[in-house]
């Protein structure tokens, strides 16, 4: 019933139009090599600031889902994965393309993306309200533990660069302490600059880290991809449908499960799913030489990852990856705090968002089978034209948050920091996670200590607190194991 209400909200007014536009823009930007779905969210989120929060979040969901699915277009047609999550798609997708079956590979990839996304969306809609109800029983110590659980993600996303990842996370925490202290109201590190009183704005920082830093990376290296025309349509034969069905649902389940693990991300989901698919290979399967099931495995998993990643984000406010961190930053700007209270206080918002997840996945398929030719033409534009446009979006986007030129300066500073971090092989994601999680960790730790008269050991007498810590340890081990096994495949 609530979902039905969510659909009614989406189909009223401008909301459906916003999902239509968001998904299309997401697919185009996701298809452009070098522009990830995180970057698409970073540069397009400012377009939504003036919108009603429901219209805005539905558009952002379209960008997020379209961005992940769009990566397969360049992976299949150009052998350049538009997003890291589509790297596994390129293996079989491009082989099929060279064999003259690019249209079939694209159709299958969009079908897999849509089914994977719908599957994970259904899981999200079923489970999230129950998990959120559990979240209502949480108090400050539990929220502190959730913050620590979020920080444990840094261990997994830092890969081999653990110390560098920790250093970057600490840098993020340091930046997050700028501004008024959340408990005492004391100004820290503001140097009497009124622009710093409320701390560093998330959105300009994220636009700089993910948008401008990418532009810096390509200033020496512009290129133009060769475009192809797809004038013919190919339908899947019934035996091909039967062949891909098993892989489709298995990969959707894998993608949803991995997505729900904070820190794992869509790239791990697609590689893990591809690995499992090759283990289930039959005699006549041609993995690595143009196998449709290879495309299905990767694409179903990376889009199914979206619904999975939204579970910890919506229920506890934990960003599992770059895209969900961006969505949390956006929600905070709109005055909405993701977590169990969002389900209680803003059910219209939550259910419209869930409905938009399902709609965007259907649109991915419809756009995919009808607009591939046009999207390939757009992504074949030289980067020397695309990147100055991205800079303009970054500049205006960071201004639009607070209508303040100071934010543009901050965005540029974070752009340079992001570029330098990448140059010296430091991961960027821990900085972003620390920026988002620091206020949650600090304020809840200190509130919890006030509750227990400065005795931290009392936290350990709370069973949910201990349960979350145990979950954190399990997550660290499982994600490190997943990353190790997917690195072996990749």
């Amino acid at each position: 019933m609530e979902l039905f209400q969510g659909f009614l909200t989406v189909f009223s007014g401008w909301t459906f139009f916003a999902v239509l536009i968001g998904t299309l823009f997401g697919m185009i930007l996701g298809a452009i090599p070098g522009l990830t779905s995180t970057m698409a969210l970073a540069i397009l989120a400012p377009l939504t600031f003036g919108f009603d929060p429901i219209v805005a979040i539905c558009m952002l969901m379209g960008i997020y889902i379209g961005g992940i699915a769009g990566g397969s277009i360049s992976a299949i047609c150009l052998n350049i994965p538009g997003t890291p999550a589509s790297a596994a798609t390129a293996i079989d997708g491009y082989c099929l393309s060279r064999q003259g079956e690019s249209q079939k590979a694209l159709n299958v990839s969009f079908l897999a993306s849509a089914v994977g996304g719908l599957f994970s969306g259904a899981i999200l809609i079923t489970l999230a309200p129950y998990i959120a109800k559990v979240g209502l029983k949480f108090s400050s110590p539990e929220y502190f533990a959730l913050g620590i659980l979020g920080i444990s993600i840094i261990l997994s996303i830092s890969g081999k660069q653990l110390v560098k990842g920790l250093a970057v996370a600490l840098l993020g925490f340091m930046i997050a302490t700028i501004g008024i202290d959340p408990i005492s109201g004391f100004s820290r590190y503001t140097f009497e600059n009124s622009n710093l009183t409320n701390g560093i704005s998330y959105i300009p920082a994220l636009i700089g880290l993910f948008g401008l830093s990418e532009v810096f990376s390509f200033v020496n290296d512009s290129y133009q991809s060769k475009s192809k025309n797809f004038k013919y349509r190919i339908k899947l034969k019934s035996f091909e449908w039967k062949r891909i069905m098993g892989t489709l649902f298995r990969s959707s389940s894998i993608g949803t499960f991995i997505g729900a693990i904070p820190g794992a991300g869509a790239d791990i989901a697609s590689w893990a799913s591809y690995d499992v698919a090759t283990r289930f290979a039959k005699k006549d399967d041609k993995y690595g030489k143009g196998e449709l099931k290879g495309v299905v495995a990767s694409e179903a998993a990376n889009n199914a990852n979206v619904g999975g990643a939204l579970i910890p984000m919506m229920t506890f406010g934990i960003p599992g990856d770059g895209q969900t961190a961006m969505l949390i930053a956006f929600l905070l700007i709109q005055g909405l705090e993701p977590g169990p209270l969002l389900f209680q206080n803003n059910p219209d918002f939550v259910w419209a968002m869930f409905a938009s997840v399902l709609i965007a996945n259907v649109l991915v398929f419809l756009y995919g089978i009808s607009l591939t030719n046009s999207i390939v033409k757009i992504i074949s534009q030289p980067t020397k034209i695309i990147y100055p446009c991205v800079i303009m979006f970054c500049l205006i986007g960071s201004f639009a948050v607070n209508n303040n030129i100071f934010d543009i300066g901050m965005m540029c500073l974070f752009g340079v920091i992001g570029f330098l971090l990448k140059k010296f092989d430091y991961p960027i994601a821990p900085l972003m996670l620390a920026l988002i999680l620091a206020p949650m960790i600090e304020s809840n730790l200190r509130r919890g200590l006030v509750m227990y008269e400065n005795n931290f050991l009392m936290f350990f007498q709370r069973p949910i607190f201990l349960g979350i810590l145990a979950l954190g340890i399990i997550l660290i081990i499982s994600t490190l194991w997943l990353r190790k096994s997917t690195n072996n495949i990749g």
Partner: protein, 148 residues
């Protein structure tokens, strides 16, 4: 194998070390809390953590490795410097010249920086992009670009 505490990677470690000292030093001046740790608690913990991390980075990278082939995208060159200068000029002159005038100049220079040869093409691209952005953000989305 040569050892040095001042190679490129180790220098970043030293920079982080210095940052942690300054950050921690400023935190000492913050008030202490009563029945909770107070505003200085987290900064002091972070400062200590960064101190340890920076020293690990310095020691880990003290070996001077033979020059590795660097990703050309991350090689800092003249163009990076120019882009930073253009952005700085944009920020400084924006309140003086205004959004349209400053964006036209900035975009012309940026299109040239991204290897768009000649004069006319960069001019046409800059004009189209500036006015499309103005139309989209100012007229459609009501972002007060006049304040820029």
């Amino acid at each position: 194998m040569k050892y040095s505490f001042f190679n490129r990677e180790a220098v970043i470690g030293w920079a982080l070390f210095l940052l942690s000292i300054i950050y921690g030093f400023l935190a000492i001046g913050f008030p202490k809390g009563g029945n909770e740790p107070g505003p200085s608690f987290l900064p002091l913990v972070l400062s200590g953590g960064m101190l340890v991390c920076s020293l690990i980075i310095v020691f880990k990278h003290r070996k001077v490795e033979e020059a590795k082939e660097e990703n050309p995208a991350f090689r800092i060159g003249r163009k990076h410097l120019f882009l930073v200068i253009y952005l700085a000029i944009y920020l400084i002159l924006l309140p003086v010249i205004g959004f349209i005038g400053m964006s036209l100049i900035f975009l012309f220079l940026t299109f040239r920086l991204y290897d768009n040869k000649g004069i006319f093409r960069p001019i046409i691209y800059s004009v189209i992009l500036t006015f499309s952005m103005y139309g989209l953000f100012k007229l459609f989305l009501n972002v007060p670009l006049d304040l820029m």
